[in-house]
């Protein structure tokens, strides 16, 4: 009984069968992935900014390079398993890979990895340069303030300037106009956050005490998600926001309504930028000169 279970031929056949099954599953999933376009992020999520396609193409390039070589390597692996399967009367042998002919199986793929790394690097640096190093001329600036656990957006009012009385401050809703170049100033009031707009393919960390600049140009109108992509405490999952990309006509109407709010006393006055990263007491105190800081000496020592 034991001798038949340990028969190398039987084991070899079993391994071979599983190998064929594995190869079939592998080829089928690769085919599904490619045929259904799952490699293309744009099939799932609109490309909503001028640079969204650059990011997607970079991811696709890496996906194709890695995918093709994975496929090739797996095919070689399955072929080797088949080619050197157990055979009656042939003893297994230990191959150390010292022969030049055998070493090539390792060294050639190694050179290929290096070569393709350079290709990826060249494309990645180009995209990095286009998005992070250079920027088109700014047409409008928006200030983004992250805190536990909300996003506040400060829009230029009709005067086209921040830190003036007609600034429009909103919580949870960012309003931008399609095809306009926006520069953003990202602040955090407390801890690390990350401003993530999937349709823009934009993700930028916010760091307390620092103002981080970036840019985007929306290309598709509609309402999209904004999320925090850096664990920032208990309520991290409860701080979503909405991005509204407006047509020029919608923008004009929106600005007109906000001006009406302002004259009706319904608008929220601007926060001076110096106070944005500050403790809330400073903000309240600024609105209210007689204001008293909350955490007085007595609280801590109690």
């Amino acid at each position: 009984m034991a001798s038949t279970e340990n028969d190398p031929l039987k084991i070899g056949r079993k391994v071979f069968l599983w190998t064929v099954l594995g190869a079939a599953v592998f080829v089928a999933s690769a085919w599904l992935l490619v045929s259904r376009g799952s490699l293309m992020a744009s099939w799932y999520l609109a490309q909503g900014s001028t640079y969204a396609a650059d990011i997607d193409n970079l991811v696709l390039l890496i996906g194709i390079i890695v995918g093709v070589w994975l496929l090739a390597a797996e095919l070689v692996l399955f072929w080797l398993i088949f080619r050197f399967r157990a055979r009656k009367g042939v003893a297994g042998q230990y191959i150390a890979g010292e022969d030049k002919r055998e070493k090539r199986w390792v060294s050639y793929p190694h050179y290929a990895v290096l070569a393709f790394d350079v290709v990826i690097l060249v494309f990645a640096l180009r995209v990095w340069n286009d998005i992070k190093v250079t920027a088109p001329a700014t047409e409008e600036t928006v200030r983004i303030v992250a805190q536990q656990w909300a996003w506040t957006f400060i829009h230029e009012g009709p005067d086209g300037k921040l830190d003036t009385p007609d600034d429009i401050r909103t919580v949870e809703d960012l309003y931008v106009q399609v095809n306009k170049v926006y520069r953003f100033e990202l602040h955090s009031r407390d801890v690390l956050h990350s401003f993530s707009v999937p349709v823009f393919r934009l993700k930028q960390d916010a760091i307390p005490g620092r103002m981080i600049s970036g840019w985007f140009t929306p290309t598709v109108t509609g309402t999209f998600d904004i999320q925090c992509a850096e664990i920032c405490g208990l309520g991290h999952g409860y701080m979503p926001a909405h991005l509204h990309v407006q047509t020029p006509a919608e923008r004009t109407a929106w600005l007109r309504d906000r001006e009406a709010d302002r004259f009706a006393g319904r608008a929220i006055p601007p926060t001076p930028v110096a106070l944005v990263p500050a403790r809330p007491e400073a903000v309240v105190a600024a609105d209210h000169p007689a204001g008293h800081a909350l955490a007085p000496a007595g609280v801590e020592g109690r």
């Binding site: 536990q148 506040t152 929220i268 007085p296």
Partner: protein, 214 residues
């Protein structure tokens, strides 16, 4: 061998089916209690609702259920805690969104109402209660002369409230950080009333409220 493999496959399949059914129908089988829901609150407000000044969370133990539910609803609807300068309110707004229905709000509110408040803490501010007494007369019209609260006026009990919390909320009402939403008549009413306290007397009124007992 084949039988064993087949068995493993069946078990795996059953587990998958089991997971999908619990994911769909698990909620109906065991209703969530106020105690369960309160877990979302306790990291800031404390296990027994005692509050935590380090995260600006006031004591909530023993607050009337009607007041807790009305505030949770306000946070959810953006009537409270949606002002860009309401740093603590914005935090609470996110946390309040975890209550998924009116029933859940009521369950957690009645749990909080049943918690026992801790003995009154020492005042955190240096307000003078005697100087605040005269301004409290206006507050007492709705909140009751002893700060006992009057539900018909939508006025919560204030007696024994932490002075730092009272002072901060008064300032928020005064500066428009709280209570200035057109759709919130109660908040607007309180904003108007808050204006009767001169800014330099806010701490004194808070000290007076802190000293009240029902």
């Amino acid at each position: 061998m084949t039988v064993r493999l087949f068995g493993a496959g069946v078990v795996a399949g059953l587990m998958l089916v089991g997971m999908s059914t619990t994911a769909c129908g698990g909620g109906a089988a065991s209703p969530i209690t106020g105690r369960d829901l309160y877990r979302s609150c306790e990291s800031c407000h404390g296990i027994s609702g005692e509050g935590d000044t380090k995260v600006e969370a006031p004591q909530i133990a023993g607050l009337p259920a009607w007041y807790v539910s009305s505030q949770l609803e306000r946070f959810q609807q953006g009537l409270r805690g949606k002002h860009p300068d309401d740093v603590e309110g914005l935090r609470m707004r996110a946390m309040a969104s975890q209550m998924m229905s009116k029933a859940e709000i009521e369950a957690v509110a009645s749990y909080i109402a049943g918690l026992t408040p801790r003995p009154k803490a020492a005042p955190a501010l240096k307000g003078d209660p005697a100087a605040g007494a005269s301004f409290y007369a206006v507050c007492g019209a709705c909140h009751g002369p002893k700060g006992e609260g009057i539900q018909q006026m939508n006025a919560p009990p204030l007696a024994g409230f932490e002075d730092w919390y009272v002072a901060r909320q008064l300032r928020k009402f005064q500066t428009g950080v709280r209570g200035r939403i057109t759709e919130d008549p109660v908040g607007l009413q309180m904003s108007g009333m808050a204006m009767t306290v001169p800014p330099e007397s806010v701490d004194n009124v808070a000290a007076y409220v802190h000293g009240l007992s029902k």
